[in-house]
């Protein structure tokens, strides 16, 4: 058992270290998120009341697309240099190692996105009181998205121009997350109780934690064949 924990810790340490040695790649999804949320006021109107109405949708669609951008890199480098094959052959459970990998991926992309979202929300005219609700909903949503993305990224490994395929597979599956995530954010912004949609988001996270690593491991194994 301790072997499994140690393996997971090593995977996470390695991923974090590699990510911090290549900071530009780490910043891409965040910059993308910032730019997309900036485009909306320019395209719609700078009027705060109108922006506040669309803020939940803008935040969530931008977060979804930014996560999608990041998911493309989840397995790509490791598949190219053979690390994934070593994981599969290591004797440790591939499901568990990919779970650790997904966790580190979320720490590197989802968590920063969640922490950054209040700034973008403020830019869209949202009151400061809504910040905890926004952070919580985007945190839960990005966890579930990273887990879902691990499956679809595993399936699209090794496909030429896999990026387009990845979005075609991931986005329809992410529809429930978008609905309840945006709803939780909208309620937080309106100052209403957010518990309902938040519980549902949490339920998706639990479902994802239970099933997604298994499916991701199956997908990666198929792609490595």
């Amino acid at each position: 058992m301790s072997g499994a924990w140690q393996a997971a810790r090593l995977v996470i340490e390695r991923d974090l270290r590699l990510a911090f040695r290549n900071r530009a790649q780490l910043l891409h999804p965040l910059l993308f998120f910032a730019i997309v949320t900036t485009l909306f006021p320019l395209a719609l109107s700078p009027e705060p009341s109108r922006l506040r109405d669309v803020a939940p949708g803008v935040l969530w669609v931008a977060a979804l697309l930014a996560s999608l951008l990041a998911i493309e890199f989840l397995f790509r480098d490791d598949a190219q240099d053979g690390t994934l094959e070593q994981y599969a052959l290591s004797g440790q459970s591939l499901t568990w190692l990919l779970f650790a990998k997904t966790l580190s991926h979320w720490l590197l992309t989802g968590l920063p996105l969640a922490l950054m979202s209040p700034v973008a929300a403020y830019g869209l005219g949202v009151a400061v009181e809504a910040v905890p609700g926004i952070i919580a909903s985007i945190t839960l949503g990005t966890i579930a998205l990273s887990l879902l993305g691990a499956v679809t990224a595993g399936l699209t490994l090794g496909i030429r121009r896999g990026g387009a395929m990845l979005s075609l597979l991931t986005l329809p599956l992410a529809v429930p997350l978008l609905i309840f995530g945006a709803q939780a954010t909208a309620r937080a912004i309106a100052g209403e109780p957010v518990a309902g949609p938040m519980y549902l988001l949490a339920a998706f996270v639990v479902l994802g934690l239970t099933l997604a690593p298994l499916a991701a491991a199956a997908a990666v194994r198929i792609s490595l064949e």
Binding site: R160, M165, L169, P172
Partner: protein, 245 residues
């Protein structure tokens, strides 16, 4: 227990011949039932007291919507069988379900839009069930896309099988989440517990259409399965023998 009958399905020549024998047994009853259902629905059934004759599109819309879901479920089940027992023939069935199911989804969407225009005053409303149907269409297209993007057929089979299984878990979630999100679609009139809220002269043709469409689906899938098996086994000796005979 003797499992030979199950494993025989895994043999492509056996499945090819079986599908060939079964096609007429599904196609003819389907044609008869659909003709009878259409006559009953379009001519015999009385007009609806609110929607007039406009409701009659239900005789195509509801069976298409039902098959769009059933085809997805069947695709996922056969894909899972193919993944678990490594049965190539099951993958061929899953691959054949996808385009047929996608077309039934298009039919359900198209008839739903035509129905929406006189009833809601617009072709497209973000009604939950229309939206869920649209997401289902995207799931089908993703499945077909993934299958065609992977060149190695065995890898394509197995990868798309995982996707189908993930998708089938997601379909009910999508359905309920859009239901809670927004609702103007009329409440279900057949698929609910207790007595259906639709009169027998209207309901009977609908039930006939359900059975007819399901048989049509089976016939279409079987024809596609035969084509799919031939495509996959084009190098095999039994195909050459069959063609040259």
């Amino acid at each position: 227990m003797d499992w030979t009958w199950f494993h025989r399905f895994g043999s492509p020549p056996h499945l090819y011949r079986l599908a060939g024998t079964l096609v007429p047994w599904f196609a003819w009853p389907a044609a008869i039932l659909i003709a009878a259902g259409l006559y009953g629905g379009l001519v015999l059934a009385p007009p609806d007291y609110q929607q007039g004759d406009g409701f009659r599109i239900i005789y195509v819309h509801a069976p298409s919507a039902w098959l769009s879901l059933m085809a997805y479920t069947m695709m996922a089940v056969t894909a899972a069988i193919g993944l678990i027992w490594r049965m190539k023939a099951a993958h061929a069935v899953a691959a054949s379900c996808a385009p047929v199911g996608a077309w039934f989804t298009v039919a359900a969407l198209g008839t739903g839009m035509l129905w929406g225009k006189p009833m809601w005053g617009t072709y497209w409303a973000w009604d939950p069930r229309l939206t869920a149907e649209l997401v289902l269409l995207f799931l089908y297209l993703g499945y077909i896309g993934l299958r065609s993007a992977i060149e190695d057929p065995q890898r394509a089979d197995r990868a798309s099988a995982v996707l189908a299984i993930v998708g089938v878990i997601n379909v009910p979630i999508v359905r309920y989440s859009v239901e809670w999100w927004n609702s103007i679609h009329q409440a279900p009139s057949v698929m609910k517990f207790g007595k259906p809220s639709i009169s027998w002269p209207m309901l009977t043709p609908l039930l006939i259409m359900f059975v007819g469409f399901t048989l049509l689906f089976a016939a279409l899938v079987l024809v596609r399965v035969r084509a799919e098996i031939l495509r996959r086994e084009r190098q095999a000796r039994w195909v050459t023998e069959m063609v040259t005979q």
